[in-house]
Amino acid sequence: MSGAPISPIRQPLVTGSKTYHQITEDLCGPTEKAPSKAWVIAFLISVAFLSLGIACILWTIWKGIGSWNLNRTIGWGWDITNFVWWIGIGHAGTLISAILLLFRQKWRTGVNRAAEAMTIFAVLCAALFPGIHVGRMWVVYFFFPYPNTRGPLWPNFNSPLLWDLFAISTYFTISLLFWYTGLVPDFATVRDRAKGFRRKLYNLLSFGWTGSAKHWQRWESLSLVLAGIATPLVLSVHTIVSFDFATSVIPGWHTTIFPPYFVAGAIFSGFAMVQTLMLITRKVLNLQDYITLEHIESMNKVILLTGTIVGVAYLTELFIAWYSGYVYEQFAFFNRAFGPYWWAYFGMMSCNLLIPQVFWWKKYRRSIVITFAMSIFVNIGMWFERFVIIATTLARDYLPSSWSWYVPTFVEVGIFLGTLGIFFTLYLIFTRVAPVVAIAEIKHILKSSGDQYASGHAEKHRTGQSLVVEDHHH
C-alpha cells in the first residue's frame, strides 16, 4: 500500500468505494425523485412556522413594536438576540467554504454546500430582525447612504448599526456568490441528466457550463478569489456585530474582548447548526458515504475548540469585571450570574462551556447521538448567550430606579419560530433543487480521499462489496 495518495493516518472522506457515476447518481438523486413523505411532513411543518412568523411580523408592523414586551429600559430583547444568533449560525458556512478552502482541508467538501446554503438562509433570517425591530420600518431606507435632497443628509457613519448594515450586506452578497459559483458545475450535471423544462431551467442556472478546461480553470480561480474575500468576512462580520455592544457605554456591553469572543461564538454555533442539519440530511438523503463520521468528528473538534475559546472569554469577562474595580461592571456581571436572570446565565455556561467538554473523548466525538444532542445544546446555549448579553445587561444598568424586567410576548416568540420556519423551508427547498453535497468537489477528492484509494481502509470497510477496486496502485 505504499505510495497511496492519502496519508495513512487520515480517514477516508468518501466511503462506499464510489465511482464517479455513483456519486452523480447519489447526489443528483434527491433533486430528481418525488419528495419522500418525511420531506413533505417536514416541509408542511416548516411552512406552518413560516406562516406563523409572517403573521406575527405583519401584526408587529400593524400594531407597532408595542406588541412586543420591550420597555423603556430594555430596548432590545428577543429581536436582537435572534439577530445575533442567526448571524452567528451563518458563520460556519463561510468558515468551511473560505478558510478551510484556503487551508486545503479536504473534509470541507462533504459539508460545504449545505453549510453555505445554511449561511445564506441564516443571514436572511438574521437580516429580517434589524428590518422589523425598528419603530418605523417604512423609513429604514434612511440607513442607506444614497444621494438625497435633504442637504444631502447622510447616515451617521459613527454608528455601529450602520457598520452592521454594510458588514451584513457584504457578507450576504459574498456568501451568495460563493455558494452559487460552487453550484454552477453541479447545476450543469443536473441539467445534463434532466429533460424538458427542468433541463431548460438548469441550463439557465448553470450559465451554459460545458465543463471545458477553461471553465474549470476560471471556476477554480473565482473560487479562490471569493475565498480570499470571504475569509476576512468570517472575522469581520461578527466583530462588527459585537461592536453594536462593545462601542456602547453600558456595563456588560462595553467590553474590548467582544470581537474575538463573538467570532469564536459564531463559529461555535454555526458548526453546531451544521451538525444538526447534516446529521438529519445524511440520514434522510442517505448520504452517509459522503458525510462520514470523519466529517462529524472534524466538526466536533472545531466545536470543542471554539466552545472552549468562548468559555475562556466568559471567565475572562468575570475576571476583568472584578479586576476593573468599576462597580457598574462588577455589578453587571454579578447580576448576570446571580441576578434575576441567573438561569439564562447558567443555561449559557453549561451549554457552551461545560457540556461540549465531552468532545475531549473520541468516542463521543464520533457518536451520532451525542453529537446531535450536543449540537442542540450548543444552539440553545448560544441563544442564551445573546439573551444574557442583551436583555440581562439592559435590565439592570446604571440607575437602579430604571431597572426592569422582560418576558417576550407571543408575537416575539412567534417571530422567532417564524424564522426557524423560514430557515427550514428554504433548506428543504434547497435539498430538492440542488445537490446537497458538492458533486464536483467530491469527485475532485475522490481519488485522494475515497476509501477505495486509502491504504488499508478499503479492505477494512468495504470487504463485502461487489465493486472491484481498480486503479489501486498508481
Binding site: W62, K63, G64, I65, G66, S67, N69, L70, N71, R72, T73, G75, W76, P130, H133, V134, G135, R136, M137, V139, V140, F142, F143, L153, W154, P155, N156, N158, S159, P160, L161, L162, L165, D244, T247, S248, V249, I250, V327, Y328, Q330, F331, F334, N335, A337, F338, G339, P340, W342, L394, R396, D397, Y398, L399, P400, S401, S402, W403, S404, W405
Partner: protein
C-alpha cells in the same frame, strides 16, 4: 293664451298650454318621482332596469370609487381668522392672571393661551400666597377644561331612563316651580374661598330664607378650626411660617403635599432647607411623626414611627414633656424616648419651632396649640393676622344635614363643587339624599352625587369663568375667563342669582363687589393684571387659653390591635376630585412610584440574609382582601419602606364608581371605611383591620420604579450591620456590598459632615476628571471651540430643595404634549414621561430617609445616544442641546439602550393617533374608546409649538427647546443679550421650591452660573464621561442622631 299672464316668464311651450298633468307638477321644483318615470314611454322599458351586467358595472364602479376615495388621507383643515381679534397674534401666546381653585386647593396662576385656547398653567410669581409655585393639580387644571366627560348642557332626570338633555329655561322653570320662599334648601359645597360666591349665596338666601349652606372638606381639618375656636376664640386656620422655624415637628401633617396650603408651605420650607453657604451651612430640622411614609415624611430628617391610634397619645406626651401638666395615655418606651429627645430639641428652639398635626381630634389639636404656645410659636412661626381660609368645613355640620334629610326636614339640596356621595365618610349620605324631593347639582361632569340628582345645572370650568378667591384673609385673587364656554354651561353663581331674581351678569356682580368691598380704591385693572389684590384686611386673635387637662384626657386612646390602617391623601389625587384627569391618574405617587390606583402599603422587613419580606409575605402587585371594621374589599399591595410594622396605609380618592374613563375602575374606595369620633369629626384611620394573604395578582400593576433603595442598612442574622438592599440584589446568592452605594448617582451627607463631604466629593470628581482625560479626544479642546461661545444650555437641580411633589412632571407633560398611555402600558414600563422623579431610600432599612432626584435628559456634550444613532436622528446643537429629529428617527432604540440615565422614551404604540393605522388604539384603554388625549376636544390642550410624536419614534426631554427659541427671538427683537428670565423651562417654572434652575452656562452673571459654583455640585455618573449638562447639588440632612440611638 288662456291661464297665462303676459308678464310671466315662460320656459317652454308647455308653460303656455294648460295640460292638467303638467300644471300638477309645474310647481314642484324637486320631483320625487324617479327619473325614468318622467321619461314618457320608456317607463317600463328594459333599458332602465338594472340587469346583471349593469349591476356588476355599478358594483365595480362603486367598489372602485369607494376604494379610491378611501385611500385619501383625511385632511383636517385649519382656517385662518377672517377678522383677526386684536389681542391674538397667531403663534404668540397670551398670558392671563387667574387662579386655580378646587375646594380649598388654591394656586395663583398665569394661564397661557394660544389662538384663544388655554394650553398651560404657570405659577404667578407676584402672588403673595403661592409665590409662583404650582402643584401637580394646578398644572393639570388646564386638561380638566377639555375633559370629554363634561356635561354639554343642562340635563334633567327623565323618569327611569336616567338623564335627558334639558334647557336653561326648563331648569329655571323647574327651580321656580319646585322652590318657594318657604322651601327648606341646603347648599352643599366644599370650602368656598370666593368672597363673591359667598355673597351670591347670601343673596340667594335672602330670596329663599330657609336656605342653609353646609360646607365640608373631603379631607377634613375641622378639628383645627374647632381647636382654634376653643383656644383663641376664632374658628380659623392660622398662617404658618415654615421658613421661620428651625425645628419643625409634624404629627402626620403632609404639609408639603396636601395639608392646607402645600405650595406656600413647600416654598417656605425649602427656603430653610437649601444650603446657601457651605462654610456656614445651616438648615432646619424636620421631624415627622407618622406610621406610613408620606411625601412630607419622606423629606423629614427623622421620622418617629407611631401607630395612628397612638398619635393622640404622642401629642399628649410631647405636651407634657414640654411642661404641660397632667397625664395622657401611656406609650411604648421607645416612642417615649424619642419624644424626650424631640422635646429637648424643641425647647432649644423656642420661638423658632413649629409643631403641626393633621389630627382631626379637637383635643389633640388643642394640645398642639398648647405645645406651640409653650414654644412661643405664636407671633413667630404662627400668625393669626392673615389666617388661611382654605379649610372651612366642619364635618358635624354635614352629619346634622344628613339627619335633617333623613327626617324630611330638607326640601331641596343643591350640590356645588362637592361630591359627598363619594367622598363624605361612611355611606350614610346617599340614603339620606334620596329622601330629598328636589336635588340639583352644579357639577361639570358626572359623579356619584350628580348621578343621584334630578337636575344638573352644569357650572363653567374655572378657566371659562369670572371669579375670585381669598385663600388667606386679605389676600384676594381674581379668576378671569381665558376662553369662551365650550359647552352650554352657566356659571353656578349666575344660576343662584337668577333663581334669586337677579338679572345680573356675574362679571358686573363680581366687579361691583370688589369695588365696594375689596379694592378699597385700588385699581380693578391692576388687580386683574396681577391676578390679585391684597386688601390689607387682617385679623387678631385672642390670647391662648384652654383646658389642657380636659384635652389631655380626651385624646384618642392607643389601641392594642395588631394591625392598624391609616387613610391619607395623595399629592395628585386628593379625595378623588381629580380622577377624571388622566395626567394626574398617570402621575406616579412620589413615594410609592405607582400610578392608576391606590395601593395598600405594607411594611417590609429584611430577613437578615438577602431578602426583603413583605408583611404576610406579600409582594408588589399582589391582591389581598382588606377588611376594615368588618367590611371587606380587594386591594393591591406594595411593599413600602418606612411603613411602620403593625400598620398599613391606603390612600383616599380612588375606586370611583361614576366618572370618566380614567376615573372608574381604578383602585379601592376607602371612604365607606372612614368613621367619625364622638364629636362627629372624620377619623382617617381604623384599628379593626385584617389583611388576608395573597389572593391573586393585579395583572396591570402600574409601578414605574421596581428598585427603591440606594443603600439601606439593617442587621443580618449574625447581628452585624450590613447594607441590606445590596445583599438583596442577588437572586441566586447574596449580592455584594458596594454594588449600589458606590454608584455616583446620589450624593448625600449629614450637614454636620459637610466639610469632609465636600473634600471627599472634590477628590472623587478630580479622579473622574483624570479618568475622563484618558482619551484620544480631550473634551476641553473641543469644548472651547464648540461650546464656550454663544449659548450653552445647562441645568442645576438642588436635591435639597426638591420635595418630590411632581409638579414639574405634570408641567412637562402639559408643555411637551407627552402622551398618556394608560394603566396597562405603565405596567409594561411604557410610560412616556420625559421628566421623572427617581426616589431612593437610604439609611436605616426600617425607618429610612428618602432622596428625590428629578431625572431628565442630561444633554450630554459627549452623548452616548448620539454616536450610536445610524441615521443622525439625534444630534448635538451648537448650543449644547441634544436634539431629536422625529422625522428622521427610524426607531432602532439603540440610543435608549445606550443612555446611562434611561431618559429616552419610545412610542411603542400609537399613543397620540398621529398615525395612519388606528388599529392599536383600543389596547390602551381596553375598550373601544380612543386613547387618552386622542379625541379632538382633549387635543385642544396640545402645545402647538411642540410636535406630536407618532408611533415608532424616540422622544425625550428637549430642555423645552421651543421656549429657548422663543426666548432667543424676544431678546433678539429687543436687541439685547438673552437673560435668565427669557428662557425658563416648564419644570423650572412649575417647581414650588425653586429646585430647578435652567440657563446659559456661558452667561457668567446668570443665576445658573451662580448655582454651578456651589461646592456641593456633582454630575450623575460623571466617570462615564458623558459630559452631562445637568448638575445636581448634594442632598443634606439635619438628622437628630440621638433620635435613632
Amino acid at each position: 293664451m288662456k291661464n297665462h299672464k303676459e308678464e310671466e316668464i315662460w320656459i317652454g311651450g308647455k308653460d303656455l298650454g294648460s295640460d292638467p298633468e303638467f300644471l300638477k307638477t309645474a310647481g314642484n321644483e324637486f320631483t320625487d318621482t324617479p327619473l325614468y318615470e318622467t321619461m314618457g314611454e320608456a317607463t317600463e322599458s328594459e333599458s332602465y332596469k338594472t340587469d346583471r351586467r349593469d349591476f356588476l358595472k355599478y358594483l365595480g364602479f362603486g367598489l372602485g370609487a369607494a376604494t379610491v376615495a378611501s385611500c385619501d388621507i383625511p385632511v383636517k383643515k385649519a382656517l385662518p381668522y377672517v377678522v383677526k381679534p386684536d389681542t391674538i397674534v397667531p403663534g404668540i401666546p397670551n398670558y392671563y392672571a387667574s387662579s386655580y381653585v378646587n375646594g380649598g386647593d388654591f394656586c395663583s396662576v398665569l394661564v397661557k393661551t394660544r389662538e384663544g385656547r388655554p394650553i398651560k398653567i404657570e405659577g404667578n410669581s407676584l402672588s403673595s400666597v403661592s409665590m409662583g409655585g404650582t402643584s401637580a393639580r394646578a398644572q393639570a387644571y388646564v386638561l380638566s377644561l377639555y375633559d370629554t366627560n363634561r356635561f354639554k348642557g343642562p340635563i334633567a332626570r327623565d323618569g327611569e331612563k336616567g338623564f335627558a338633555a334639558s334647557t336653561w329655561d326648563a331648569i329655571d322653570a323647574a327651580v321656580k316651580s319646585n322652590l318657594n320662599g318657604n322651601s327648606r334648601i341646603a347648599i352643599i359645597s366644599n370650602s368656598i374661598l370666593s368672597p363673591t360666591t359667598k355673597k351670591a349665596i347670601a343673596r340667594f338666601k335672602s330670596s329663599f330664607p330657609n336656605t342653609k349652606h353646609v360646607s365640608y372638606d373631603p379631607v377634613s381639618s375641622s378639628a383645627m378650626l374647632l381647636a382654634n375656636e376653643a383656644t383663641f376664640g376664632s374658628k380659623v386656620i392660622p398662617d404658618y411660617r415654615f421658613d421661620k422655624a428651625n425645628v419643625i415637628v409634624s404629627f402626620g401633617a403632609d404639609f408639603l403635599g396636601t395639608w392646607i396650603s402645600p405650595i406656600e408651605y413647600a416654598r417656605q420650607y425649602a427656603k430653610n432647607r437649601v444650603i446657601k453657604d457651605v462654610d456656614n451651612a445651616s438648615m432646619s430640622k424636620h421631624v415627622q411623626i407618622e406610621n406610613g411614609m408620606s411625601l412630607t415624611g419622606s423629606n423629614a430628617d427623622n421620622r418617629i414611627l407611631v401607630k395612628p391610634s397612638q398619635q393622640g397619645a404622642a401629642i399628649a406626651a410631647l405636651c407634657n414633656l414640654l411642661g404641660g401638666s397632667g397625664s395622657g395615655p401611656s406609650l411604648p418606651k421607645e416612642i417615649m424616648d424619642s419624644l424626650r429627645v424631640l422635646a429637648d430639641e424643641l425647647k432649644g428652639a423656642r420661638g423658632k419651632a413649629l409643631v403641626v398635626s393633621n389630627s382631626n381630634n379637637v383635643s389633640e389639636q388643642i394640645l398642639v396649640n398648647k405645645i406651640n404656645d409653650v414654644l412661643g410659636s405664636y407671633g413667630n412661626t404662627i400668625s393669626f393676622a392673615h389666617p388661611s381660609m382654605q379649610r372651612q368645613g366642619i364635618d358635624s355640620d354635614m352629619n346634622d344635614l344628613i339627619a335633617d334629610m333623613n327626617a324630611g326636614r330638607i326640601d331641596a339640596v343643591m350640590v356645588y363643587g362637592a361630591n359627598p356621595a363619594y367622598d363624605f365618610p361612611g355611606s350614610s349620605f346617599a340614603d339620606a339624599f334620596a329622601k330629598v324631593d328636589f336635588k340639583l347639582s352644579f357639577a361639570q361632569s358626572n359623579d356619584e352625587t350628580t348621578a343621584l340628582c334630578d337636575y344638573v345645572a352644569p357650572d363653567h370650568h374655572g378657566l371659562e369663568s369670572w371669579g375670585d378667591a381669598e385663600p388667606k384673609l386679605g389676600h384676594c385673587h381674581l379668576i378671569q375667563p381665558t376662553i369662551n364656554p365650550l359647552f352650554n354651561t352657566r356659571q353656578a353663581q349666575t344660576s343662584l342669582l337668577t333663581w334669586a331674581g337677579e338679572k345680573l351678569d356675574y362679571y358686573d356682580y363680581l366687579k361691583s363687589n370688589w369695588t365696594q368691598n375689596i379694592l378699597g380704591g385700588g385699581s380693578w385693572d391692576k388687580a386683574l393684571h396681577d391676578g390679585f389684590h391684597n386688601s390689607g384686611a387682617s385679623y387678631s386673635a385672642g390670647a391662648f387659653s384652654a383646658n389642657v387637662g380636659n384635652a389631655l384626657s380626651n385624646v384618642s386612646k392607643p389601641n392594642s390591635s395588631d394591625l392598624e390602617i391609616n387613610f391619607y391623601e395623595t399629592v395628585h389625587m386628593g379625595n378623588g376630585q381629580f380622577a377624571n384627569n388622566p395626567w394626574l391618574m398617570e402621575m406616579p405617587d412620589p413615594v410609592t412610584r405607582t400610578s392608576w390606583g391606590n395601593i395598600l402599603h405594607v411594611p417590609v422587613k429584611f430577613n437578615g440574609v438577602r431578602k426583603f419580606i413583605g408583611f404576610n409575605d406579600l409582594e408588589d402587585g399582589d391582591t389581598v382582601t382588606l377588611t376594615v371594621n368588618g367590611v371587606a374589599q380587594t386591594a393591591v399591595v406594595v411593599q413600602q419602606f418606612g411603613q411602620m410594622p403593625g400598620t398599613v396605609s391606603l390612600s383616599l380618592g380612588y375606586g370611583r364608581e361614576v366618572g370618566g374613563k380614567s376615573a372608574v375602575g381604578y383602585g379601592t374606595n376607602v371612604n365607606p371605611w372612614l368613621t367619625t369620633d364622638a364629636n362627629g369629626l372624620t377619623q382617617y384611620y381604623a384599628t379593626d383591620v385584617a389583611v388576608s394573604g395573597k389572593t391573586g395578582e393585579d395583572d396591570d400593576f402600574a409601578s414605574v420604579q421596581y428598585h427603591h433603595t440606594m443603600g439601606v442598612k439593617d442587621v443580618n442574622t449574625a447581628g452585624e450591620e450590613v447594607v441590606a438592599d445590596e445583599l438583596a440584589t442577588g437572586t441566586l446568592v447574596k449580592g455584594f456590598e458596594g454594588s449600589l452605594t458606590n454608584r455616583s448617582i446620589i450624593r448625600r451627607t449629614h450637614i454636620a459632615d459637610v466639610k469632609e463631604f465636600v473634600h471627599h466629593l472634590h477628590e472623587e470628581r478630580h479622579h473622574f476628571e483624570h479618568l475622563n482625560e484618558q482619551t484620544l479626544y480631550p473634551y476641553d479642546e473641543y469644548k472651547e471651540d464648540l461650546y464656550d461661545q454663544g449659548h450653552h444650555w445647562g441645568m442645576h437641580v438642588d436635591l435639597n430643595a426638591c420635595i418630590g411633589c411632581g409638579a414639574c412632571t405634570v408641567a412637562c407633560i402639559a408643555e411637551n404634549n407627552v402622551p398618556i398611555v394608560g394603566k396597562h402600558e405603565v405596567h409594561r414600563h411604557h410610560e412616556m414621561t420625559w421628566l421623572r422623579i427617581d426616589r431612593y431610600f437610604y439609611g436605616d432599612a426600617d425607618n429610612p430617609n428618602t432622596v428625590y432626584q428629578p431625572m431628565m435628559c442630561q444633554h450630554c456634550d459627549n452623548a452616548p445616544c448620539e454616536n450610536v444613532c445610524p441615521v443622525n436622528a439625534t444630534n448635538h446643537s451648537s448650543e449644547g442641546l441634544n436634539q431629536m429629529a422625529y422625522n428622521r428617527c427610524v426607531g432602532t432604540r439603540y440610543c435608549a439602550n445606550n443612555c446611562p440615565y434611561k431618559v429616552r422614551r419610545f412610542n411603542w404604540l400609537d399613543y397620540t393617533t398621529a398615525d395612519l393605522w388606528p388599529s392599536n388604539e383600543p389596547e390602551l384603554t381596553k375598550s373601544d374608546e380612543l386613547p387618552f388625549g386622542a379625541d379632538n376636544l382633549t387635543r385642544m390642550v396640545l402645545n402647538p409649538d411642540v410636535t406630536v410624536r407618532s408611533r415608532g419614534v424616540i422622544e425625550k426631554c428637549s430642555f423645552c427647546t421651543q421656549r429657548i427659541q422663543s426666548g432667543k427671538l424676544v431678546a433678539k427683537k429687543e436687541g439685547r443679550r438673552l437673560e435668565d428670565r427669557d428662557v425658563r423651562t416648564a419644570c423650572q417654572t412649575a417647581c414650588p421650591t425653586g429646585a430647578i434652575t435652567f440657563g446659559d452656562t456661558n452667561n457668567k452673571k446668570g443665576q445658573l452660573s451662580k448655582k454651578l459654583r456651589s461646592p456641593l455640585n456633582y454630575v450623575v455618573l460623571e466617570e462615564v464621561n458623558t459630559r452631562s449638562s445637568v448638575n445636581y447639588s448634594a442632598k443634606l440632612i439635619n438628622k437628630i442622631e440621638k433620635l435613632d440611638a
